[in-house]
Structure formats: structure tokens, C-alpha cells
Subunit: 404 residues, 2 copies
């Protein structure tokens, strides 16, 4: 898999960068995509500034083998499309789009939900697979050592900036932003990349020591293979396992079975399949009760998420006005899918609470069938309070080959 | 020089493709950029279709070493920007943008003039050099062998199309379009690339035999070096000369001198400079009367071009309504520059009428100072009825090194 990862400034989403690097290192391609929204000449000035190699140096210092590609676009979606279509060259072209989970979807500008879902759809239209990574948030935002004061600029720093010929701006925001890997790189409005880098260097030890994905991983990688997407959901964990960071991790595969009576046979088939792909698997579980109705309590949690996201048609709200909102009809129509997500959350909590990584099939509704708010609630349900989760979906092209 | 060339479908602008290839072959990078305007799902479908390798096969068949990069964008300017910013990877990134001359600027949708000039400005903002190639048009449009009837689809072809699973559409337009290398790839609306390719193959011998730039070149390459742009205007002809297609061509350098009395000294300096760069030059001419006023007749020709492009303020036309039009004030303000272009035309006709290629500094007005119609008239004046002309401007970064 060759990966285009929407990082904005890579230093603002270090977990995502380190994670993808642990997947592509030495064997594949990684491009960090950065989209600057806007079409005026100021945007182009930013573009030129960011091009200057600071980011590449930041990456090199951390031995992250990645290219950095920055682009300007009138809106985020166009920029992401452009990157997907033109990044790389010849065979060095990415085929998987990785993003951080947009954990601010509830509080953020609601149209951004639509953008997020559109980018996912565009990715499949451009023949990309899609991966969404969510890491536990406490890492940054609740780290008591990471106080804003740490980031104030001291005198000697000012001199450094002067020497670099750059303006001095106390850049508190970007560091806080790290806690929320979101899709919009709004940070770029706030300060020059040099400042970000510099600040990042200063608090480097603190931040980077608290990262998950720059350390050797223990525990299991739990694969929830719910849908045959060409095998990407299996391939990625397999590749991770071959990399030094993850080599101590056992692979456990979970898949949904149909009938209770056929369990033994299905398990056997699955084992045969995996061994055909020469994927070593520590444990394999066929879950037969995915179809069970979820508990009232977990359902309640989900409904909590949808508060304010339901189209209030009685008070005259229209879908044209609030395209991201979900109507009661749509809720009803997608009730079964929603229940399945809630049920999956229960199962994840039951089986994979202690995994070092969960890799799961990314749900992808057909275009226009699922409003973005409901979709985000699904993803939230699958990922909140979990170990790091990678939601993954291939582009239906078979990536596994076996010799029979 | 690593070149991004805006070809649309390469088969629609073969001269441009062959020319750039003769510059980059074996030593450098060439990317054929294709922009599909629009943002709907039909555009994405086209994108997927064009990605399938037909174009790459077309290029390979002609031994053109180029990558093909297609992108969708809401408008042409955005698409060109995106390509410039994200095409290539690492050190394999283009630094020169090449385009065909937009010879339809008078008859085409006038806003396209603005687009054309904007793309040029954007290129410099993205640290690109810019080259604009104009080849004599009679090649295609006046070729008596190239009748539209040739392009009608015969029965056996229909079968072929059926076998390919593609709709049959008599594609007359794209072949006619070849005669006018313009910046907008409207052709894409008309037929699938398979058809274009197929038709192109059929009339291959006719069209390709009439091309200029797929044959060994004789005669001189005349360089008109009017402005120090970092040396690109000298470097490109020098590189051309080292390539097999152009190796029989002598280089002649023309440059503007200041005072008649100092002619000998200036000529000597120039010769020294060129020998420092180790550029072999067959002949060198210092033109001292660039500043002379042009003749009434050539002036008249220019005024003819500007007909309908002058802002009719007396009848209430405003620049907001007709941004591409030139006001009388602007005409007056830029009179000196305009006269220089007209005078250069006279000089080109005098000295370089029989060159096999003219390479000349591209005039680039500061942003906002020159309306696009006046700019297009300048370019038209410099290129119409001439041998192939390449207008070229570096991004001010020095590309020539010498040992002193």
C-alpha cells in the first residue's frame, strides 16, 4: 500500500504520521498532504513558505521516510481531490488515503462533516482505499506536563527568530490542536511553519515521549474483518507485523459468522484462507451474534450523539438548509445499520478492549443515502474510548494473492 | 529543466508534446498535464476513464518519455495550480510550465484570456518558469489532405468500437482542434479518449508526417535574449542543441544593446559571457535600435488586433463588467511597452524569418497592470506568421553556472 496521508503540517498530527510511517517504512511510499484553503495571493505566499523544506527537515529528523506535498485550493474537498489525482508520479502514486478521525465533528462547523464524508467518497471514486485512524485523545489534551505556558516564547528564542528573519508569534494553538486530529488545517492561518517547528522542537521530548506510535508495540492487533474489500483490512495488519515497531504483536482475526451450527466449518475455512495468504494468526474468532440487538444503554449513548443532528421538520427545518442533519425517515431507514454499529461497539468492548490496535472495516454508505451527521455518529460509536482504531476499506481491488 | 506541459490529451497537441519531448528526452522530466473542468460525478467518471493507460500507451508508442497526469478541478486555473503544486515527487518535480499559444483568444470566450494570464502569473508564484510555444497553424488546418471526411467512422471501425465496449461518436472536432493549440481542453466533452486515440491512429501517418517537431531540424535557433531571467532563455536552446533532433542547428543570439558607440564592447562582453557558460554560438548580434518607433503599418496591424478589446467607456462599459478589456488609459500607460512589442515584430521579421525556432523572452506584466486582451495582443504580435516561437521566462533563479 502506498499512502497519501492528510496531515496538514505533519508536526500537528504526529500520531498519524508515525503510524503511517510504521506501515510504509522501507517498503512503500508515504506522502504527507497539506491543503491550504483559499485562492488569493496570500494563500500562494503561504504555499511558497511551506515549500521551503522545513517540513521535510522535520520529517528527516525523525527518520520518517515521507514526501511532503502542499497545495492550495478553494476548498478542502477540491484540495484533497487534487492531491489524490496528481500526487506522486508513474508507479510512485499513492493508492490509499489516510486521515485522522475528525473528533471535533460535534462542535465544529457542521458543513465540515459533509466535507469529511465527501473526501471519503471522492477517494473511492479516485480508486483509493481509505483509512481513518483514531488514537485516544487524552494523550495530548490531558497531559498535565503539556501546559500552554511551556509554549511561550522566551528571549533567546526571539533572537533565533530574528536570525531566521521571521516574525515572532506565540503559537499556542497549534500545540493544543494536536490533541484533535481533524481534517481542516486551520492552523496555517496562525503562524508560520518555522514557528510551529521551532515550538515543536522545544517541547519535543514531552510530546514525542507521550506518543503511542513511535514506540515498540506490545499486545495484539485485532482485525475485525466484516466485509471483503479486496483484502486490505487483512493486508495492512500483516504488513504492520513485519515492521520492527509491531513485530511483537500477535494478530487476532474476528469475523462475522452466519449460523451457529456451521461455526466449526467457517472457522476452518477462515483458517485455510489465512494460511493460503500465509498470514500468521494467533487467534481467530467467528462472531455469530453480530446481528443481535444492542443493549438499551449503548443505544442511549448513540442517541445522545445524535442530539441536535436530527432534522427538526416540525419547526420547518429543511434538508436543503441543513444538509448534514438526519431526518427521522433516514434514521428509520438506516436503523438496522445503526444498530449494527452500536452492536459492534459492544463486541469491540467485549473482545478488543486491550488490543494495541484495532483494524476494522470502514463502513461506507452509498452516496446520498446517509447524511454526514449519522455517518460521523457511526464512526464515533465504533471508535470512542477504544484503543487506537484504524477503520479501513480497500477499493475492491484484490491486494492479496495466493497460490493454490 | 523539468517540464509540466499543459497538453490536455497529448494527441490533441502533438507539436507541443514532441517539442517538449525533444527538450527533456533522456535527461529530464516531462509531465503531460490534463485538466478536466467540473466538480460533479461525471467529471470523476471521466477522470477514471482517462487514467486507464490509453494515453500512456499513446505516448509510449511514439517513444515520448513522459508521464500523464489528469486532474479534475472546478475551473481551469485551479486545476493548473493544483498540477503545478502537486505533480511529481521529491526531486522529480517540474519547474517549468509549458503551454501552447492560445491562438483562439480573439474568437473564444473572453474570460478565457483572463484565465490564460492568471495561469502564467500563478506559475511564477509557484516558482515555475513559463514557456509558451506557437507553431504555424497551417500545418493542420490548411493541410488539404486532412479533410474532415477522412475522419468519419467506417463500418469496420464501428465493429472495433463495439468490441471495445465504447459508444460510437464521429469525432471530427478533436482533429480540427489540433490546429489550434489552446489552453482549454473542451474536447473532452465530445468523445471518449479511446475514440480520439483510435481516430488519431487512423490518420496517424498523415498528421504525424506533417508535424514539425518529430523530424530532424535544420536551420538556426534564434535566441532573443531581452531580459535576464536567470538564463533559462539561453539554457533551453543550449539543451535543445545537445539533443539529436536539433543537433544540426546553429545557435544565434540576439540581444538589445544600449548605445551605438559601445557596440564593439558589448558584443565582446556577450561573447565572453557565452563562452563562460560554454555555449557555442554561431553568430551574435547586438540590436541597438529596439527603442526605435515601429512603422505605421505594423502599428496598424496591432490596432486591428485590439478591435473590440477596448473598453467603450463612453457607452457605459465598466472594467468590472469586462475585466479583460483594455481602457484607453491603460493603452496610453502601456504605450511604450506596446510599441516595443510591435518593434520587436519588425526585428523578428527582419532577422529571424527563416529560423527553425525562435526563442524569445516572454513579456510578463506585473499583476493587475495589464489587461489580458492587451497581453494576448502582445503575444500575438510577437508570434503571428513567424517560424515556431517559444516565448520563455525563467523564475529569476539562476540556472547557468560558470567557472571564472
Amino acid at each position: 500500500p502506498q499512502v497519501l496521508v492528510l496531515t496538514g503540517f505533519p508536526c500537528n498530527r504526529p500520531e498519524l504520521v508515525y503510524f503511517v510511517n510504521s506501515l510504509t517504512k522501507k517498503i512503500s511510499l508515504m506522502i504527507c498532504g497539506h491543503i491550504i484553503e483559499g485562492a488569493d495571493s496570500e494563500t500562494l505566499r503561504q504555499y511558497r513558505r511551506y515549500q521551503k523544506g522545513y517540513v521535510t527537515r522535520w520529517l528527516n529528523k525523525r527518520k520518517i521516510k515521507a514526501f511532503y506535498s502542499v497545495t492550495t485550493a478553494t476548498n478542502y474537498r477540491q484540495g484533497a481531490r487534487g492531491l489524490m489525482q496528481t500526487a506522486g508520479i508513474g508507479k510512485l502514486k499513492p493508492n490509499i488515503l489516510m486521515m485522522g478521525f475528525k473528533s471535533t465533528w460535534i462542535t465544529d462547523e457542521p458543513t465540515n462533516m459533509d466535507t469529511y464524508l465527501s473526501v471519503i467518497h471522492d477517494a473511492f471514486d479516485c480508486d483509493y482505499g481509505v483509512g481513518i485512524l483514531r488514537t485516544p485523545e487524552r494523550l495530548f489534551s490531558e497531559d498535565p506536563d503539556m501546559q500552554p505556558e511551556d509554549l511561550n516564547i522566551h528571549e533567546e528564542d526571539e533572537k533565533n527568530y530574528d536570525a531566521m528573519g521571521d516574525e515572532v508569534t506565540p503559537a499556542l494553538t497549534p500545540m493544543r490542536r494536536q490533541s484533535t486530529p481533524e481534517v481542516e488545517p486551520q492552523d496555517i492561518e496562525l503562524q508560520t511553519i518555522e514557528n510551529v517547528n521551532h515550538l515543536f522542537e522545544r517541547s519535543l521530548s514531552k510530546v514525542e515521549n507521550s506518543l503511542i506510535f513511535n514506540k515498540k508495540q506490545k499486545g495484539t492487533i485485532d482485525v475485525w474483518w466484516l466485509f471483503d474489500d479486496g483484502g486490505l483490512t487483512l493486508l495492512v495488519p500483516y504488513i504492520l507485523q513485519t515492521q520492527s515497531l509491531w513485530k511483537n504483536c500477535g494478530l487476532r482475526v474476528f469475523t462475522a459468522g452466519t449460523k451457529r451450527g456451521e461455526l466449526g466449518r467457517e472457522q476452518k475455512q477462515m483458517a485455510q484462507l489465512l494460511s493460503k495468504f500465509r498470514i500468521e494468526c494467533q487467534d481467530m474468532t467467528i462472531i455469530t451474534d453480530v446481528g443481535k440487538l444492542p443493549q438499551e444503554k449503548t443505544k442511549q449513548e448513540f442517541n445522545e450523539l445524535m442530539k441536535g443532528m436530527i432534522l427538526d421538520e416540525d419547526n420547518g427545518e429543511t434538508p436543503e438548509e441543513f444538509p448534514w442533519k438526519t431526518s427521522e425517515d433516514q434514521m428509520l431507514l438506516l436503523k438496522e445499520k445503526t444498530n449494527r454499529m452500536i452492536r459492534l461497539r459492544e463486541l469491540l468492548q467485549e473482545h478488543s478492549k486491550d488490543a494495541s490496535l484495532i483494524v476494522m472495516t470502514l463502513p461506507v454508505p452509498r452516496k446520498g443515502t446517509c447524511p454526514s451527521s449519522l455517518y460521523m455518529a457511526w464512526l464515533e460509536t465504533l471508535t470512542r474510548g477504544m484503543p487506537p482504531v484504524l477503520l479501513l476499506r480497500g477499493n475492491q481491488q484484490s491486494v492479496l494473492t495466493f497460490y493454490s
